[in-house]
């Protein structure tokens, strides 16, 4: 299954983690501005995994139903970006965003729209940072709100016969003083990995000099 899929060496993985970290940090700052509470990020997890592994990284014994905002991106690299929350966190997030001015009925009515806009800001901010650092241009789609299991979220929009492996960039975040935790995931089909490796090498060369580039591990 992995034949023909280029592997990323340690330095390329490190550079990718750094890019994702920059993108997500900016996204976290945006979320902080929107809700006024500190947002704590985990260290990014980056790797080539199967869809099944990707699902198991999000799902756990307690949480199996999620709400997510998804945007597709296209350009030299293509894939999907997801902002994922446990289902129960949706209302709490809207409550935090609107500063407690709305009734529960209004929050429920508003939830879908507010999540789409929040996801749009966070995912676009993250993707734009990554595109700028890689000196490339990415077109992003309109945000789409999805409900379901981890499998539903990660497999939605995948055409049959697509390679089962994905490049998963995964980071968790938690909002202080609010019961909100979530994940940001970027999934890229393996066809994008070749382009990504080239862009990462150029990024490393710009950042650290050509001498740092190593053959694939």
């Amino acid at each position: 299954m992995t034949s023909g899929v280029p592997r990323l060496n340690a330095l390329q993985l490190d550079a990718l983690s750094e890019l994702v970290n920059l993108g997500v940090s900016r996204a976290a700052a945006s979320l902080h501005e929107m809700i006024g509470h500190q947002v704590v990020l985990s260290v990014p997890n980056v790797g080539l995994v199967s869809h099944k592994q990707a699902v198991s990284m999000v799902e756990n014994r307690d949480v199996r139903q999620f709400i997510a905002v998804r945007e597709s991106f296209e350009g030299p690299i293509a894939g999907r970006a997801l902002l994922i929350f446990p289902n129960a966190n949706g209302i709490e997030l809207v409550r935090a965003l609107t500063g407690g001015h709305l009734t529960l009925d209004e929050i429920i009515e508003f939830e879908q729209e507010a999540l789409a806009e929040t996801g749009n800001i966070i995912l676009n901010g993250c993707l734009a940072t990554i595109a700028n650092m890689l000196w490339c241009s990415l077109r992003t789609s309109i945000p789409e709100v999805l409900h379901g299991s981890g499998e539903t979220l990660f497999n939605a929009g995948i055409t049959e016969g697509t390679d089962d492996l994905v490049l998963l960039l995964y980071i968790t975040f938690a909002v202080h003083e609010r019961d909100i935790t979530g994940y940001i995931a970027l999934l890229m089909d393996t066809s994008s990995v070749i382009s990504l490796v080239k862009l990462l090498n150029q990024f490393i060369e710009r950042s650290a000099g050509a001498g740092e580039l190593q053959p694939h591990a």
Partner: protein, 126 residues
Amino acid sequence: MSLRILVVDDSRLARMSVAKALTASHPDWERLEAANADEAIGIVKGNPVDIALVDFNMPGRDGLELAAELRELAPRMPVAVVSANHQDEVLRRARNVGATFLVKPLTQKAIDDFLTEAVARLEAQN
């Protein structure tokens, strides 16, 4: 100077956020809202608008296309394109259509700075 400002965004949350900032700094201004490019063009054709704040990522025509159309309809109207998508390419396209780029989430200061500059431009034209 009381002005008419057009806020175009498909998200109600985003329009609410701009409304809050505008109420804080310019409570006497008239605010018009549109959820997409067609609605915005309809409003501008029917009413004179002084300033426009336009979201980039909208269904149908995006904010940069709309900004270009607005600049053609009203070449002296200051227009800001608002987006979290701060890619260099998007910023360059905004500059090319003569629009100011503002990063989402919008802060009170960013809106105030844009409006101060927009008012100065409008006053200089009169």
